[in-house]
Amino acid sequence: MSAVIECDSVVKQFGALKAIDGLTFSVEAGEVFGMLGPNGAGKTTMVRLINGLLAASGGRLRTLGFDPITQGDRVRAHTGVLTETPSLYERFSARDNLLLFGRLYHVAPEKLTGRVDAVLRDLGLAERARDKVGGYSKGMKQRLAIARALLHEPQILFLDEPTAGLDPEAARHVTDLIEKLSREGGRTVLLATHNLTEAQRLCDRVAVLNQGRALAVGTPAQLSRDLWRSTWLDVELRGVNGGAPTDRLLAQVRAVPMVKAAAMEGHSLSLQVESEEAIPQMVAHLVRLGAQIVRVNPREHTLEEIYFALQEQAEKAV
């Protein structure tokens, strides 16, 4: 694996405002990387910096090995961007929009109409392809903008709030689509969003941003571990030593040093251990205590829990 985007202490200043304040992260080839953060966190600004639309005020940026400022055209030839607003030519048909951008993205003329038809089909727009985009619904415009971002088969796909403003059904449709896109052909996707459910479903790794700073970068599991320094396990028991689970077992479990907390309800036992590494040892312990284990589930924190914990921490730090 190699990094396709490298950001090292990147700073972007607008007048007195530091929109990006020393951001460091890198995105590996083939992964879906999420930039999460509230309004004004700097997500859109980062997409612009990475594509050379804005010049950083400090730090070092490399996209596909190129400097986005001096080699912006080479960067942009290999990136596709779904912008916050669809930014489509509404007086033209969907087809004409795509033909235009295909030329601007240097799609070979003999391949162009084939590519246009293919993305129109993939995004379910083939039937309305010759209608003026001005008459499209918001969801259709969004799909067309995604089609445009994919037209030249970019190595990195940027999606800036792809489901913002869509109704639940259209949003679902777009999320399904992104999931499909990220699975096929090892494409790198950078998703900027404040929709945490969407991020949870799609992202391999995330950077949680706030006011231009990264509060944390990593897989949701890593972030969760760093935050809580413990893992909850849900253990389902058939019984203990042939009988029903008893309070005695709960007391014995609580007595184990690595257990920080435990609770039992019927046949399910929940316990908190220091780390995931402790799980095998814990299971062995339970077996020794005579527990007949049906299922062990490490309880994962949702991205939403992680996100709010991080944002809360950041607020307390101020």
Binding site: L53, G72, R103, L104
Partner: protein, 276 residues
Amino acid sequence: MNWNIILTIAMKDLREVRANKMAWMPALIVPLIFVVVMPLLLIVGPQLLPIPAEELNREMGDLDAMMNALPPDLLAQIRGLQGLQIWIVLLAGFMFAPMFLIIPLMLASVVGSESFVGERERKTLEALLYTPATDRELFLGKVVAAVVPAVLITLFSFAAYTLVVNVSAYPVMGRVWFPLVTWWPLVLWVAPAIATLGMAASVLISSRVSSFMEAYQSTGMLVLPLLFLMIGQITGLISLSVVFMLGLGGIIWGIDAVLLYLGVAQFKRAELIARL
């Protein structure tokens, strides 16, 4: 620099203008008025009036005093002519010349305003900025869109005007007399300079206004100098000689160079995206 990209952008801008009737209708109607309606009214009209030729000649003769004040170039052109002939040459050959420049000015500023401001107004610029097209290519595409059709339509209007003037004045003049020599530098040298001026002005204005209409109206101010030119000519202050045309064109090209330099400096992705 990739001319395929530049032309793709230019064609795109022109298609957008074509979709905006409010923009191109006035820009086409004005040339039509200058080229067809006005000459026909002013050349054919007097021919239809039941004024005896002698009377007309006497009337124009009374103008002798004023005509002696005319610049020598002009006098040379009308020496030996009489009555309606003088009227036609003065009007169609000289007075209309500055007005003719309104054609490239209007066309270039309509397209310039549409493509530089309209793109921002309709929020389509961002996607364009994310393409591999360089700042220079984007800028040139828009320049080509504004200037090339303006110059071509001016040339076409000139050809049509030549035809209309010669045909409608034939009963009076008895020969093909148009274009006068001053029109060549006007059409080939000054008109392209004016088209470029209209475009360059709309580029600079585009960063200061938020709508196509505002930009278009601001560039409309450029018509004023053309009116001065016309008044100057009527009052005899200026004579639109070949030398004057060459000089005038030179000055306008100079202004164009400065404005375009400023325009290019201003047309940078980072600036444009920050102002979206």
